[in-house]
Symmetry: C2
Subunit: 334 residues, 2 copies
């Protein structure tokens, strides 16, 4: 039996509307008998759901943070928004984790400002599990910090390694630095400085990784600043999307292709699901006190279900405690 866990869920986050979030929440509850959910959102959305589902609690909120709003100021202003309320439930111990498919910026701001940073963590980082060949690779930061100092990247490496060890069971994660050449002295000034610090401070640092290593499966964790990481993540998404379009066009362009397409349709659909962001369900914000998982804005029911499951697993594997211990150690060593 798994540990009992309570996750707060932003019922109104995501482009697809609350029905999709609630459907995903219902699946998460059905799949995990030790899970309780606190649904944060307008009373007329969350109360009927809580009334009709076991282990579901309603937390009515009067405000919503929209996708276009300035994240930090919206979080400061809208104290009764679903995102701020969800994070406050975690801060106050009423829940251990939070999931939202709403504004990524607002979730980062609320996670950092409301849940609070783990003592010693300089900057929380948004991490993303990538569908690398043979085994997953964790990329961070994918957008929380556009400008990063080398010491942030060292902590990203420690936090990412803790995540892959505790959640994915990778005994000794291979951590690489995203750079533009294999040799230590390659890259921008920032990348060279980060390489030097990681060589010195990170036991078992595996050296530089390149763009092509993000999906090669050669590394368990790849660290970079939030600008480069966000560009790389969206490049992977865009490349996958365009290649699937090209495959479709190629197959529809010939008679043999059309016949073959009928036969391979199921296999390609399964593959598309495998490499889709929905499969991973969400990006954990590492370095905050509690589990904070941010879903893609376009999350469907499955993605919401998986995002909630990631939040629950993050809580159960005590990643935040491990990060706290690692960072405290790093602080002593430095």
């Amino acid at each position: 039996m798994a540990d009992k866990v309570t996750i707060a869920v932003d019922a109104v986050g995501g482009d697809a509307g609350p029905e999709v979030v609630l459907a995903g929440a219902a699946r998460a509850l059905a799949d995990d008998p030790d899970l309780t959910l606190v649904l944060c959102g307008p009373a007329d959305v969350v109360e009927p759901f809580a009334a009709s589902h076991e282990r579901a609690v309603a937390q009515p909120c009067t405000e919503v943070i929209a996708m276009g709003e300035h994240p930090a100021s919206a979080v400061r202003r809208k104290k009764d928004s679903s995102i701020v309320v969800g994070c406050r439930l975690v801060r106050d111990g009423a829940a251990q984790g939070f999931f939202s498919a709403g504004s990524t910026g607002a979730c980062l701001a609320a996670g950092t400002l409301v849940m609070g940073r783990i003592r010693g963590v300089k900057r929380p980082a948004l991490a993303q599990v990538l569908p690398a060949y043979a085994k997953p690779t964790l990329l961070l930061d994918v957008g929380a910090n556009a400008d990063c100092k080398p010491e942030y990247l060292l902590q990203f490496a420690q936090m990412g390694a803790a995540y892959m060890r505790e959640l994915m069971g990778v005994a000794e994660p291979r951590v690489g630095l995203l750079n533009i050449g294999e040799e230590d002295e390659k890259g921008s000034e920032a990348a060279q400085a980060a390489n030097a610090l990681l060589r010195e401070e990170l036991p078992g640092f595996a050296g530089n990784a390149e763009g092509r290593d993000l999906l090669s499966g050669e590394f368990d964790v790849i660290v970079t600043d939030g600008f480069t990481g966000n560009v790389a993540l969206k490049t992977i998404e865009g490349t996958s999307k365009v290649l699937f379009s090209y495959v479709k066009d190629a197959l529809m362009g010939s008679l043999s292709g059309k016949l073959g397409a009928l036969l391979v349709k199921g296999d390609l659909a399964a593959l598309k699901a495998k490499v889709s962001p929905d499969t991973y369900g969400g990006s954990p914000l590492l370095g905050v006190k509690g589990a904070c998982v941010v879903g893609h804005g376009s999350s469907n029911e499955l993605a919401v279900r998986n995002g909630i499951a990631v939040a629950a697993t993050t809580v159960r594997s005590h990643v935040a405690d491990v990060i706290a211990a690692t960072v405290a150690q790093g602080g002593e060593r430095a």
Copy 2:
């Protein structure tokens, strides 16, 4: 009839060996009756080729710059290497362009140091034509300058637009800045500064592009620093490679898939060729006096043929003159 053009070719550049380069050179000669090639390399490699091919001239060299050597110091030291000799032929007017599939770093250094920068160009940039959906997109810089000031990016935008206009016939290229959000104020400090400068100085600036726009076909030119551009380019290559592996695995995993695979094999192979770097043959170094085109280290015969053709087209479309005029204008305006 096209203008007569002479291109110097590094006969020993590339992982596949001189035979592949020479085979590609032979195809380029056969396809373009107005093309003359000067083959730079060891006498026993280039002289037999020149003797057996019309419009081929041998330029024996005694040195070779290997892939691992430090680019700038190798270029300074090895005056009789195929890369330095090829660029010198352009500087001295014996050729108008140069192609190599050898060390990218050495080609960038020799292009910049030996051919020389166009007056007013702050930093030459390596550009790459990407197989975006429906129409190609030019990305630059993909690795010549890891650290960039905003004013470099403005020139990259001007040079990239000139290239797409003159070579690709795009009347009014849509130029975007690679960033991590659509809004002008998004991104790192460097990206924000570049956005502000492009808004002010670049007529028709189309705003920020994101990673997913590299292949969407929404932009004709996307500018970024050489660090981010190199990561993005290698991410596209890596994602394509892994997705094709996944497609293969998916089809081989079921009986219907195996049958279907027989039918779609040809279409998928054609697609693979379409998105392969070999199709574009090489990356032009923009901002130097003359055409300098750098091929992938893994260039095959077709890639060499195409790289030489890109160099010839670059010369015939007078891109360097257009860049010189644009940059001189920009200098006056600034």
